[in-house]
């Protein structure tokens, strides 16, 4: 459109552009009739507005901005697409689409399918039929000409398959198809990888001399996990990629059977590398739980490796008939077994050579296999336990030796053994040491090639029995059994007719021994996934992978996995990768288990040239969303402009409040993103900091608003009074949550007692008690002098509450402030301590009369300040002031002198609490006496 590569998904919406002039008219239209309001301070409003001079109409640029916004929205709704997807069909007759639909397509399946759908759409417009060909084997793609609608719906319903596409098979198949259907154009939607048969397929297509198109895929992100090996310390794996340019990092996740993440590791490809290794460390028990490894970012079946029992490291218990504490480890019968088993299993040596003791110990550790090196006699108790364990799936591996040769008895032998050993190639024998015969097909060892130089000099001989051959897994050249085995219950008893050290043969020194032991140990708990005899096992699919590497429940088209002895498992359309077997025992089938090289298809030399195309992905650009974003930005600008015109951004004060708003928002977000305990901690510190740096008047927050308000106002009033009359300049008064806040910063706490307030909990009482014992003072105010218990006879509700609070505290005896108490002279000379009421007494701790002989109370009260003071005069009520320092409540009787005295009482209380008995000090007594006129 307009010479630009621009298209619209719904061009008719552009008709709405006609409405722009109407919008313009609406925008310029006079505003709606205003709401009419009677408002007495209209004059004030009018004065405000005089400063503003808002134009009657919005300025032209604002209108333009809004029109632009409307136009953008209309354009966005019309769905503009830059570089729209366009392909060009060539030739006529059916279009054959050959599609790589294997694992390598999974990641980009949507774009591949969309490309195919675009092709089909075009075929539909051109009235041509479509032939769909699958290289990985979509069963329902018949390869016959289909109507475009059918082909599209078929394609819509198809997903990628988790197998490797078979190009040579496809080549053969389409050769015939091309002949019979004579397609006009052949389009190959390749997955970008070259494999066996790719050249054949390409050549087949090119040789038709039709119009041929090859869609090349981007294979940069293709990653696959090749091999896995569970080493003693770590679980290693190899990761492969298709291209070698640039460094690349991949994250690999290990999951257990339930799909929970166990661990995560990173692998790094250096520039030029196509392979890299990754490793999971951690305890073997944890590694054994890994059932699935996957590359985090890759979504294909090859980037997933499934692990079954064969990848698990087994615990193998070792018991030797000999004392293995020998100084020469190379001669230990367990040495070679250990070395051979270590790479794929974890060993547990019995601490005790006593078989009876060590067997239960090992079984308790959960070993899968137990190797008995040259153990002859097994006690009845041990035999019983071993038999039970074998029946449950344990594998008992016995090695021969002089002790076994001496007493080859008991049930724990696969075959009956002839006592004594057979010597080959000794001085008294004309026989030479024998080497191993090739393993039979039905032996679990089939596939291992025993080297010729493995020679057996001594062995135990089995007594002839009918099914001896069945029980034999390995023989010597002369046919005598070397390894015999018997299945018992779910487990196995396996006997190596040679010793586990190098005495009898050099088999333990060879790599064959390692491999043989590995297969032997793998029998444990694998519930027969490895057929031992010449039989095949059929395992039902348990969970299979789809092309994207996700587990899906097996479909009916998936057949059981048939494994015959010695066969390797292969992935076919009927057997996609996954777990096969039952929940108790299963085997894993993976796409790649060997080293694999990913070769880009570009390196393939076809006999001719394809027309090269790229998949329709990044080329077309739908910028609808960007237009909407732009419109939103314009809207924001519009809002700001309106605000600016209204003056909200101009005057100083709103700007500051806007900044404050923003900072509040930022702080709010910050608080939200941080955990609240941390925040609470910080404010607490800040709070303590403030209190520690400045003396502050404190009051107890009762939770009753009016009481607390008066307390706060009272503290404020007293703070002002103290600051203006004394050298003490207290900070802002503070309300305390007595149950939580740190009290140690405050020398005096005012506590208005109210019957409505909650009684303090025992913990709080303990805090108060501690505070008072540590030298703090609390001024309780029942605020009920008129009816209060301290002034009257009966207990008022507040006094009762106070009694309840104090009942749990350790309170010394109290007395009304005596006339010579420090409180009466700590700053002002006072006789009474009025508040709003004048009648109540102020009660303090009874002073200890230290000098009874003198008979008069000295102006000292021990060393401390009275930790408790009780009044009923409503001190805070008298102190309370409003914002302009005017008293809030009248005194009763309304006497300003009384208020003044109330303030003075407050000063004295505060000074008393702060200075303690300083004023009572004898040094000052003469001066005080002089002033008192005594």
């Amino acid at each position: 459109m307009f010479g630009l590569p621009l298209a619209f998904t719904s061009p008719w919406l552009l008709m709405a552009l006609i409405s722009l002039p109407i919008i313009w008219w609406l925008l310029r239209l006079t505003p709606p009739k205003p709401q009419e309001e009677v408002f007495p301070p209209t004059r004030i409003l009018a004065r405000l507005q005089e400063k503003e001079e808002t134009p009657a109409q919005s300025p032209w640029w604002l209108t333009l901005l809004r029109l632009l916004m409307a136009a953008l929205v209309i354009f966005a709704m019309a769905g503009p697409i830059l570089n729209p997807d366009e392909t060009a069909l060539k030739g006529d007759g059916p279009i054959m689409i050959v599609m790589d639909d294997g694992w390598a397509s999974a990641q980009e399946w949507e774009t591949r399918r969309n490309t195919a759908l675009v092709l089909i759409e075009e075929a539909k417009n051109a009235g041509r039929t479509v032939i769909l060909e699958s290289t990985a084997g979509h069963e329902n793609w018949t390869g016959e000409p289909l109507s475009p609608e059918e082909a599209a719906s078929l394609l819509q319903a198809s997903e990628s398959i988790a197998i490797e596409p078979d190009h040579s098979k496809t080549a053969q198949r389409i050769k015939a198809k091309i002949k019979s259907n004579n397609p006009g154009q052949i389009v190959w939607l390749s997955d970008g990888l070259s494999r066996e048969g790719t050249k054949q397929l390409g050549d087949t297509i090119i040789s038709t001399n039709k119009a041929t198109t090859l869609y090349q895929a981007d294979i940069e992100n293709l990653l696959l996990i090749e091999t896995i090996s569970n080493e003693p310390k770590e679980l290693f794996g190899t990761l492969a990629r298709a291209q070698s340019d640039g460094a690349q990092e991949a994250s690999i996740i290990a999951r257990d059977l339930k799909g929970l993440v166990i661990s995560r590791t990173n692998a790094l490809f250096n520039d030029g590398e196509t392979k890299t290794r990754f490793a999971f460390d951690g305890p073997v028990e944890l590694r054994n739980q890994i059932a699935r490894l996957e590359v985090e970012t890759a979504k294909n079946a090859a980037a997933v490796q499934l692990l079954d029992d064969n990848n698990r490291r087994r615990l193998v218990g070792l018991i030797s008939g000999e004392n293995f504490d020998r100084n020469q480890p190379l001669l230990s019968p367990l040495y070679y077994i250990s070395r051979a088993l270590e790479p794929f299993s974890d060993l547990r040596r019995a601490d005790d050579a006593n078989v009876t003791a060590s067997v239960p110990e090992l079984i308790n550790q959960g070993v899968s296999a137990i190797a008995l090196a040259d153990v002859g006699v097994i006690t009845e108790a041990a035999e019983k336990q071993l038999t039970k364990w074998i029946n449950e799936g344990g594998v008992l591996i016995r090695f021969s030796g002089p002790r076994l040769a001496a007493s080859p008895e008991g049930n724990l032998l696969p075959v009956a053994i002839r006592p004594g050993d057979r010597n080959l190639g000794g001085a008294l024998s004309w026989e030479t040491p024998k080497s191993l015969a090739p393993f039979e097909r039905d032996s679990p060892f089939f596939g291992i090639n025993p080297p010729r130089d493995v020679l057996v000099k001594k062995q135990l001989l089995a007594l002839q029995e009918t099914n001896l051959e069945e029980k034999t897994w390995a023989t010597l050249e002369d046919g005598t059994p070397l390894v015999t085995a018997k299945k018992q219950g779910a487990g196995w008893i396996i006997l190596y007719h040679v010793g586990s050290d190098a005495d009898w043969s050099n088999l333990p020194l060879s790599g064959t021994f390692v491999e043989m032991l590995r297969r032997t140990v793998n029998l444990s708990r694998s519930n027969g996934t490895i057929p031992s005899n010449n039989e095949t096992i059929s395992l039902p699919p348990l969970r299979v992978l789809n092309g994207e590497g996700q587990f899906i429940p097996p479909e009916t088209s998936i057949k059981p996995l048939v494994i015959s002895a010695g066969d390797s498992k292969t992935v076919t359309p009927e057997n996609p990768p996954g777990f096969y077997g039952t929940e108790d025992g299963f085997t894993a089938l993976n796409l790649f288990e060997e080293e694999t090289n990913l070769v880009p298809i570009t390196q393939e030399g076809f006999i001719g040239d394809f027309e090269k195309q790229n998949y329709l992905t990044g080329a077309s650009f739908d910028f609808k969303i960007w237009l909407i974003v732009l419109a939103a930005i314009l809207l924001l600008i519009d809002c700001l402009a309106v605000l600016w015109m209204a003056g909200a951004l101009r005057t100083k004060r709103p700007t500051r409040s806007a900044v404050a708003n923003i900072s509040i928002l930022v702080v709010g977000l910050w608080v939200l993103t941080n955990t609240s305990p941390v925040f609470a901690q910080e404010t607490d510190e800040n709070f303590d900091f403030q209190s520690a740096l400045k003396t502050r008047l404190a009051y107890v927050v009762t939770g009753i608003t009016d009481v607390d308000n008066i307390s706060e106002a009272g503290m404020r009033g007293l703070t002002f009074f103290i600051s203006s009359r004394t050298a003490l300049e207290p900070g802002e008064p503070i309300g305390l949550d007595i149950s939580q806040d740190e009290l140690s910063f405050y020398s005096l706490i005012y506590w208005p007692v109210d019957p409505r307030a909650e009684l303090p909990s025992p913990e709080t009482v303990a805090r108060i008690d501690a505070y008072m014992k540590e030298g703090g003072s609390i001024l309780f105010d029942t605020r009920d002098q008129v009816s209060g218990v301290l002034g009257g006879t009966s207990a008022s509700p507040a006094a009762k509450t106070l009694q309840q609070i104090l009942s749990t505290l350790d309170i010394p005896p109290l007395e009304p402030v005596p006339t010579d108490h420090v409180l009466t002279k700590s700053f002002y000379l006072l006789e009474r301590f009025p508040g709003r009421y004048a009648g109540g007494e102020l009660w303090v701790e009874k002073s200890q009369n230290l000098n009874p002989v003198e008979g008069r109370r000295p102006a000292r009260a021990g060393d401390g300040v009275s930790s408790i003071m009780i009044t009923s005069n409503d001190m805070a009520g008298a102190w309370a002031v409003d914002g302009s320092l005017r008293p809030l409540l009248p005194t009763i009787p309304p006497d300003p002198t009384q208020r003044n005295y109330a303030y003075r009482s407050g000063v004295n209380l505060m000074m008393y609490a702060l200075t303690g008995n300083y004023k009572a000090d004898q040094v000052h007594l003469p001066a005080l006496l002089q002033r008192l006129g005594q």
Binding site: Q35, V38, V786
Partner: protein, 299 residues
């Protein structure tokens, strides 16, 4: 959207006196309940009535020889055959409290958020004050309307006078203000600040102690208007259209707060009390506050 506020009917003294009584009766009982000292609240504002040097008539008494002849009240003496009378004035410290309520149209405003119009609340306050004062034996007068009345039913008499009199929309000239009287002015003070300050100061020059109560409708303070609104001033009829009323909110609130503060400053300077009362709050609140101020001042 219906308008938020409206101008209501002017309330006469007749109804408000009832409500004022209710309020006034609430005050002592409130105090009694709270502090059980109601009696002490009302005593001791000043000395009891005595004859002395003052402006107001107190009593006639027979002339005793030696007294200043100029004090003889000849008119009263002429009515009596046997005695010559002297007119005693009341002791000057005797307390007179003047009341004045602004009844300009702006006071008749009542918004949805408020329970009553400003004027109505102001009258209630004034009458309640009068009732309380009368009860404790003070003389109360309505500035520009009555002379100070010393009577148990002074509030009633004031109400009566108010019904008969013209609405007082102009700031009082106050020729009758004595030097030792208190004056309670209740208004919304929406005139320019300088004007208000000038008026208050002119009253101050007469030596009066003032108690200024500003009535505020909540809407006038929080400015909840939104969108396009045409405001009209009930006093001047002035109209003002705001294109986007919420844009004015911050500025308006700042301005209103500044005005209140300015008036408060003025009263502080004069040593007067200042009370701000919102019509959505209880009248008792203002009453208690006023009462406190009056009590403090009187001493």
């Amino acid at each position: 959207m219906a308008p938020l506020g409206a101008i209501v009917q002017r309330e006469s003294g007749r109804d408000t006196i009832e409500r004022a009584r209710a309020r006034a009766s609430l005050i002592p009982s409130l105090l009694v309940e709270a502090q059980r000292v109601a009696n002490t609240v009302f005593s001791g504002w000043h000395g009891r009535r005595k004859r002395g040097v003052g402006e107001n008539f107190w009593q006639f008494r027979p002339y005793t020889p030696g007294e200043n002849m100029s004090r003889i009240d000849w008119r009263r003496s002429a009515r009596d055959e046997s005695h010559i009378y002297v007119q005693d004035k009341e002791w000057q410290a005797t307390h007179t409290v003047w009341l004045w309520v602004d009844e300009s149209p702006s006071m008749l405003f009542k918004s949805d958020a408020a329970t009553v119009a400003k004027q109505s609340r102001a009258l209630v306050l004034a009458f309640a004050m009068a009732e309380l004062l009368a009860k404790s034996g003070e003389r109360v007068g309505w500035l520009g309307l009555t002379r100070p009345i010393l009577s148990r039913n002074a509030a009633e008499k004031l109400a009566e006078a108010l019904i008969l009199g013209k609405p007082q929309t102009e700031f009082p000239k106050a020729p009758d203000l004595g030097q030792h009287s208190d004056l309670i002015i209740i208004s919304d003070f929406l005139d320019p600040v300088e004007q208000v300050s000038g008026q208050l100061e002119s009253l101050f020059k007469r030596g009066t102690r003032g108690h200024v109560v500003q009535m505020v409708d909540p809407v006038e303070e929080v400015f909840p208007y939104k969108g396009r609104v045409e405001f009209s001033d009930p006093e001047t009829g002035e109209k003002f259209t705001a294109g986007n009323a919420e844009m004015l909110k911050a500025q308006y609130e700042a301005e209103i707060a500044a005005r209140s503060e300015a008036i408060r400053q003025t009263t502080n300077k004069l040593g007067w009390s200042f009370t701000r009362h919102h019509t959505d709050r209880l009248a008792s609140e203002a009453l208690v506050q006023l009462h406190t101020h009056l009590g403090e001042r009187a001493l």
